[in-house]
Symmetry: C2
């Protein structure tokens, strides 16, 4: 392998991905590790990176990292940038004598209080590939972000803990008996979305009804699972309506969850562009490297 | 101890309480056990009852039981009664040659699908002490019930899994870092209730804001905990408004949770009567015994 000009790192709570990069932005090699920020103490990040990238040259070249690696409990704390602001690397620090680590700052909003770490790099990557793009970016996940972008700045954002709720409700309430399934009922998803958007106040009752429908009317688990997802995503769309209504929308993320958001938005006659998340993160890290060098 | 005329049993998912009763309704002795329906197979209920009531005469006298003991996975399945209906014992069965067990039927509603087991006995107890009472009964708990009662019948009911959600969200989402506390902020509870009632669609965003307020503005855990409770109960009141608006309201249950519901209703200018749950359950079992004998 040719000696990389820099290293790109996406280091989240539960895993890490790294890319050896050329100055022109080509990927020379890729690596990954299950040692996420949640499993590591500050002094364990450097050995974990060396182990995962075994054989790469990583000393004395820029390492550009994003994600929870910059949290207070991470490798080095990267202070939040306060919106409205553009997305830039923040912390230029040297955790050892030979590593040149730059962690991209997360974003903070003071009122209403909100935070993100990692998504700002996806936003920067999307903007680097879509010049002069104004609109709303949705990043589905455990904590889904809705982000208003204008003139290459993040103007405001709002987090919905929809994925976190889905896992907690599906795994740790009475619905755990009702929603474990590999099946999926798309019609039930659509009904759930529309129900929750039109009557968001009914959610807590509709949730228990998924259990009761199983007992009383033999509703299948695949239907209940899709209903739960639809209700929670629909409730999110109801709340986030001031963000997406009448706006250009991009939904950035991986696989099936992103498709569900696009489908749910389409049900509200709100067309959204679906964007693959992986390449976008690397584009954001690359944009940060260029700002650093430029 | 004088020989009881009958035995009252409240057997739920996680524990069991029993009372040795005289025909006139006096309590001769009380017993309890942590062996709930969730821990027992059908053939283990009789030994569990004998162990908990060690020394009582329980053979050849009526045993009136309510709760999950009558579920499909319980001691003996008591079929649901379908609302609208009055509350009566349903299953007159003999699990052994000497025990005379009568389990009170739970209630089922087919559309919208809903079920209850145990609360129907509290409703019957309340009605036995409040003749000709019409109105709405709220029974707060893991699965809070709102019940429309008229002419001594349950007309309809609706379940909100608010307590289940509080436990799952507080224990199994990112908010577990924010809401563990012995402190309580009543003002934050009130704000949460009013927020959720006036803007129920904002709930999923407000939930994450409890985490963000801690990171950004140093919100204390006692405030976040009370806010979470207020938001969830407020969302429930928003959904249950067709039940309670303009109605006579009784809130039946134990301790602090019941007080929170009464407080939240008062914030909506809906005065509610608070009723202690324990005596009510026994009154319901006593009413069932009298119907059995009468």
């Amino acid at each position: 392998m040719q000696t990389p000009d820099w290293i790109a790192v996406d280091w989240g709570t539960s895993n890490m991905r790294a890319w050896a990069m050329s100055a022109s932005g080509s990927v020379l090699a890729a690596a990954r590790s299950d040692q996420g920020m949640g499993d590591l103490t500050p002094d364990q990040f450097e050995p974990a990176l060396r182990a995962a990238t075994n054989g790469w040259v990583i000393d004395d070249i820029p390492i550009i990292a994003c994600g929870m690696v910059g949290a207070r409990q991470g490798w080095l704390e990267a202070q939040y940038a306060v919106v409205p602001c553009p997305v830039t690397p923040d912390d230029f620090t040297q955790p050892s004598s030979t590593l040149d680590v730059h962690i991209i700052a997360g974003l903070m909003q003071t009122n209403p209080a909100d935070v993100m770490r990692g998504e700002e790099t996806q936003i920067a990557g999307f903007l680097s590939m879509n010049k002069n793009w104004d609109g709303v970016i949705c990043l589905p996940g455990t904590h889904t972000k809705w982000v208003h972008v204008s003139a290459d700045e993040v103007v405001s954002f709002q987090t919905y803990m929809t994925g976190d709720l889905f896992a907690a409700i599906g795994g740790h309430t009475v619905l755990r008996h009702s929603v474990q399934s590999d099946n999926w009922d798309s019609d039930a998803f659509d009904v759930g979305v529309n129900d929750a958007i039109s009557r968001p106040e009914r959610i807590a009752a509709r949730l228990f009804s998924l259990r009761a429908e199983g007992l009383v009317n033999n509703m299948q688990n695949g239907t209940a699972r899709a209903s739960l997802s639809g209700l929670l995503i629909g409730a999110e769309l109801a709340g986030a309506k001031p963000y997406w209504l009448g706006q250009q929308i991009a939904v950035i993320g991986a696989g099936n969850l992103t498709s569900l958001y696009v489908r749910a938005l389409a049900l509200q006659s709100a067309p959204a562009t679906q964007v693959k998340g992986d390449a976008i993160t690397l584009a954001g890290l690359t944009a940060a490297y260029r700002r650093l060098k430029g």
